[in-house]
C-alpha cells in the first residue's frame, strides 16, 4: 500500500527526513535527544561493508595529503574516486564507527561515511510466493479459493512486505510464541525457523493440552502450523511459502486441539512463553467471557510487565466486539493488539468481528496460503462402512453432503426418528500405518438428537480392527440432547496409528421414545506428516493475527531497544488508513510492514527559537 503514510503526515517530518538522510534507516525513541544519539546503526541495521569507509576530502587536498592522512591512521586507500572521495580499507580491529569519528575530526576531511550496501528489491524465490497476495498483491486470482469475494482483489492492497524486506527479513533475535494447536516442527518450511529449546525443550516448545513436552499437533490439526507459517515460514528457500519473517524463532506452545483452547492451558502457555524469552505471543483464538477469565487476564497482564506483546484475533462472527466482548482481544491491556480480517481488496471480510474501540487494526485474512501439518483423508462414505441396525449412508434435503446417518432416512424425511430399543453400530477400518504419520485425528460435524438419559451415542476406536466396541468407547453423549457440534479426537494416543484402525459409532436407546437421531458429516482424518511440504488456503482472523505478529517481530528485530508499547504504536500508527476500517477499528488502519518499520513516535520536549 502506498497511500496515506503517517510518516508523510507527521508534523515532525522535517526531523524524520533528517534522520533518513543520514542513515536511510529509522530509529525511534521517546525523546529527540535520544533520537539523535542513536544514529549509529544497530547490528540488525548494519547494512554497510565492514572494515571500509568512504572519505570525502576538501577540494584543496592534494593526492599526497590524502595518502598521508589515510596512512596516518594506519588505513589503506583502495581507490581515489571522483570528487576527492577515497575508498578506504581500515586497519584490523578498527570499527567503522571509530574510523568515521577519526576522519570527521581531521581538518582536511569534509565528511566520512560507511560504504553502504543497497539491495535489489527483496523478492523471495519461494514457489508459492505468487499466491501470497497479503505480502504482494498483484491482483492475482487465488485458485480453489475458500473465500470468493474480491478474488482477485486490487493491486497494491497488501502489507507492503517487499519494501520492509529491503531493510530486514531476519526476525530471529525475537522469539515468537505460537499459542495454538501445536506446530509440525518437522515441516520443511518451518524446521529451521523453530525455537531451540535446548535439552529442556527438545521439541521446540511444550504441550499444555496433553501435558507433555511434544507440541506436535497430536490430533493432526493444521491450524497452529498454518499460523506459524504466516509468521515465519522459511523465506527465499525456493519452496513452499514465505513468512512475514524469512528467518525466525518460532516457539510452539500447544494449548488446544482442532476444536478449541482451554483457559487452563492458555494461561500456563503464556507463562511458559514469557519465562522462556518470547517477546511476541500470537493467539488466534478467543471468545466470551471477557473479564470473567481472571486467570487469563492475570497472566497477560504479567506478560505486559515483562515487556511482552500479545497479538490476538478479533473473531469471525461478524460481531461488534465493543458490544459482544471477546477474550482476550477486549481485555483492557495495552500489550494486546486485536486484529480484524481484510480481503484481497482490503474490504472488511464478511465474517470479521469489528470494534471501534476494541479492535485495533485490520490485516489480510482471506485466502491465505500457508504451511499445514500434513494432509487429510476426506471420507465420502462410499465404501468400507459396516452398518448395523438403523445406520445408513444418506443424502437429501436435510443433509449438506453424503453422510453417515441413523435412522437411514434421516436426510430425506423430516420427521424420521431412530428406533426404540436400538443398539446400532457402524464402523470402518482405516490404514494409518504409514511411518510418515506423526500424529492423526478425526474431525467431523455431528447433528444429534437424543430423547432422554437412557439414549446415547458413543464413539470407539480400536487399532486392532474389527468392531471397535469390543473395547470401551472413548466418548459417550447422553440424552436429552439436540445440537450440531464439531467433534474431534486423537488417534495416535488411542493406539490407532495401525493398518487396522477401526473407527465407529454406536446409538443405543430404550423403549421410552426416540428423537432426531445422528447425522455425521464432514468426516475427515488430519494427518501430521514427517518433513511435510504441504500447504493450504484458510480464512479467518486466525490468519490476520499472525500477519501482525510477523510484522511485530520484524519491527522489534529492527529496533531491539523498543518496548512493547513502541512496537504496538509502530504497528497501529504505521498502518494505512483504509475506508472499510474507519469506524470499525480504533485506528482505521490496515497493517503495513514498511509503514510500521519507519513509523517514528513524535519527539517530545523540543522547543525551538527563531533567530
Amino acid at each position: 500500500m502506498k497511500v496515506n503514510k503517517p510518516f508523510a503526515k507527521t508534523a515532525m517530518s522535517w526531523f524524520a527526513t533528517a534522520v533518513l538522510a543520514t542513515t536511510t534507516i529509522l530509529f525511534v525513541t521517546k525523546s529527540a535527544s535520544a533520537q539523535l544519539k542513536s544514529a549509529a546503526p544497530t547490528a540488525a541495521q548494519a547494512r554497510y561493508v565492514p572494515g571500509e569507509v568512504l572519505v570525502k576530502f576538501k577540494a584543496d587536498a592534494t593526492d599526497a595529503a590524502i595518502f598521508s592522512v589515510v596512512g596516518s591512521y594506519g588505513d589503506e586507500p583502495l581507490k581515489v574516486m571522483k570528487r576527492r572521495v577515497v575508498h578506504v580499507k581500515l586497519k584490523n580491529g578498527q570499527s567503522v564507527e571509530e574510523a568515521i569519528a577519526s576522519y570527521q575530526g581531521d581538518p582536511s576531511v569534509l565528511r566520512a561515511q560507511p560504504n553502504y550496501l543497497y539491495n535489489l528489491h527483496a523478492v523471495p524465490n519461494d514457489a508459492l510466493y505468487g499466491d501470497l497476495w497479503a505480502l504482494k498483491n498483484t491482483g492475482q486470482t487465488i485458485s480453489s479459493a475458500p473465500y470468493p469475494i474480491n478474488n482477485p482483489g486490487l493491486v497494491g492492497m497488501d502489507i507492503d512486505a517487499e519494501a520492509a524486506w529491503d531493510h530486514i527479513t531476519d526476525c530471529s533475535s525475537v522469539i515468537v510464541a505460537v499459542l495454538d494447536t501445536g506446530i509440525n516442527y518437522t515441516h520443511a518450511d518451518l524446521a529451521t525457523n523453530m525455537w531451540d529449546g535446548g535439552a529442556s525443550y527438545p521439541n521446540h516448545g511444550w504441550d499444555f493440552f496433553d501435558a507433555d513436552n511434544d507440541p506436535m499437533p497430536a490430533d493432526g490439526s493444521p491450524h497452529g502450523t498454518h499460523v506459524a507459517g504466516i509468521i515465519g515460514a522459511v523465506g527465499n528457500n525456493a519452496s513452499g511459502t514465505t513468512g512475514v519473517c524469512w528467518t525466525a524463532k518460532l516457539m510452539a506452545v500447544r494449548v488446544g486441539g482442532e476444536i478449541s483452547v482451554s483457559s487452563a492451558a492458555a494461561s500456563d502457555g503464556v507463562d511458559f512463553a514469557v519465562e522462556n524469552g518470547a517477546k511476541v505471543i500470537n493467539m488466534s483464538f478467543g471468545g466470551p467471557p471477557e473479564q470473567a477469565d481472571a486467570d487469563f487476564y492475570d497472566v497477560i497482564n504479567d506478560a505486559r510487565t515483562k515487556d511482552v506483546l500479545i497479538v490476538a484475533s478479533a473473531g469471525n462472527k461478524s460481531n461488534n466486539n465493543d458490544i459482544n466482548s471477546i477474550t482476550p482481544c477486549t481485555f483492557d491491556l495495552d500489550n494486546i493488539i486485536c486484529v480484524a480480517a481484510l480481503d484481497q481488496a482490503y474490504e472488511l471480510a464478511d465474517f470479521s468481528n469489528t470494534g471501534a474501540t476494541s479492535v485495533d487494526l485490520g490485516a489480510p485474512g482471506t485466502n491465505i496460503h500457508s504451511a499445514v501439518a500434513g494432509d487429510r483423508l476426506i471420507e465420502d462414505f462410499s465404501t468400507g462402512w459396516v452398518l448395523n441396525g438403523g445406520w445408513g449412508i444418506g443424502s437429501g434435503d436435510y443433509c449438506p453432503s453424503v453422510s453417515l446417518v441413523n435412522p437411514s432416512n434421516f436426510c430425506t424425511v423430516f420427521t424420521a426418528t431412530y428406533a426404540n430399543n436400538a443398539d446400532d453400530i457402524a464402523y470402518k477400518t482405516f490404514d494409518l500405518s504409514d511411518p510418515a504419520i506423526l500424529a492423526a485425528g478425526v474431525h467431523s460435524e455431528l447433528e444429534l438428537g437424543l430423547n432422554d438419559a437412557n439414549d446415547s451415542l458413543s464413539i470407539a476406536l480400536n487399532g486392532a480392527g474389527g468392531n471397535p466396541f469390543s473395547i470401551s468407547p472413548i466418548a459417550t453423549i447422553l440424552g436429552p440432547f439436540i445440537d450440531v457440534l464439531p467433534i474431534g479426537y486423537d488417534l495416535a494416543k488411542s493406539g490407532c496409528l495401525t493398518a487396522t484402525c477401526s473407527i465407529g459409532t454406536r446409538l443405543q436407546s430404550d423403549a421410552g421414545g426416540s428423537h432426531l437421531g445422528a447425522h455425521l458429516f464432514g468426516f475427515h482424518i488430519y494427518r501430521a506428516l514427517v518433513n511435510a511440504t504441504t500447504s493450504e488456503l484458510f480464512d479467518g482472523t486466525s490468519m490476520s493475527a499472525p500477519m501482525v505478529t510477523g510484522v511485530a517481530a520484524l519491527v522489534w528485530a529492527f529496533n531491539p531497544n523498543y518496548t512493547y508499547l513502541d512496537v504496538a504504536e509502530s504497528i497501529k500508527k504505521g498502518g494505512d488508513a483504509i475506508p472499510s476500517l474507519a469506524g470499525t477499528t480504533s485506528t482505521g488502519r490496515a497493517l503495513d510492514a514498511m509503514g510500521s518499520l519507519r513509523y517514528i513516535n513524535p519527539p517530545t520536549g523540543i522547543s525551538l527559537s527563531l533567530q
Partner: protein, 126 residues
C-alpha cells in the same frame, strides 16, 4: 494416567459442543432445520463441564482442595502454575455453586470455570 486424561477430555469436548454457537466451523442452516421450533437447539456453555480452576493462597494445597470439593466427586486434580489447581468434578453443581463453595474456604482466592475458546479459522479450501 495421561491416556485416561486424554480420553476424559475427548469425552468432555464431545459432550460440550463446545461453543458450537461461536464455533467458526461452517454449519449449514439446512442441518439445523431438523432442530426446528418444536425441537429447540441447545447452546452449550463455553466451558469444560465439570472442570474448574481453583487458585489458592499459601495455606492451600492439593489435599485441601480435594477435600473441599469432595461432595462433588473430584475425579481428577492437576496442579497448574501460579498456585492453581485444575479440578474435574464427577458431580458438577454448576459454576455458581462451585464458586460459592470455594470462597467459603480461607485458602481459596478464586474459583472459575475452565473456559473454552474457539479457534478463529473460518473456512478452508476443500
Amino acid at each position: 494416567m495421561k491416556w485416561l486424561s486424554a480420553v476424559l477430555r475427548s469425552t468432555i469436548l464431545m459432550m460440550l459442543a463446545m461453543i458450537s454457537s461461536s464455533c467458526t466451523c461452517a454449519t449449514s442452516d439446512e442441518t439445523r432445520i431438523k432442530g426446528g421450533p418444536d425441537r429447540p437447539i441447545t447452546y452449550p456453555e463455553n466451558r469444560v463441564p465439570g472442570e474448574y480452576i481453583v487458585k489458592v493462597n499459601e495455606d492451600g494445597n492439593e489435599a485441601l482442595v480435594r477435600e473441599l470439593f469432595s461432595n462433588y466427586e473430584v475425579i481428577d486434580i492437576t496442579e497448574l502454575r501460579r498456585s492453581r489447581f485444575l479440578i474435574k468434578l464427577g458431580n458438577d453443581p454448576g459454576p455458581d455453586e462451585v464458586e460459592r463453595k470455594g470462597l467459603e474456604s480461607p485458602f481459596v482466592i478464586r474459583v472459575q470455570p475452565n473456559y473454552l475458546y474457539p479457534l478463529h479459522q473460518q473456512n478452508e479450501a476443500q
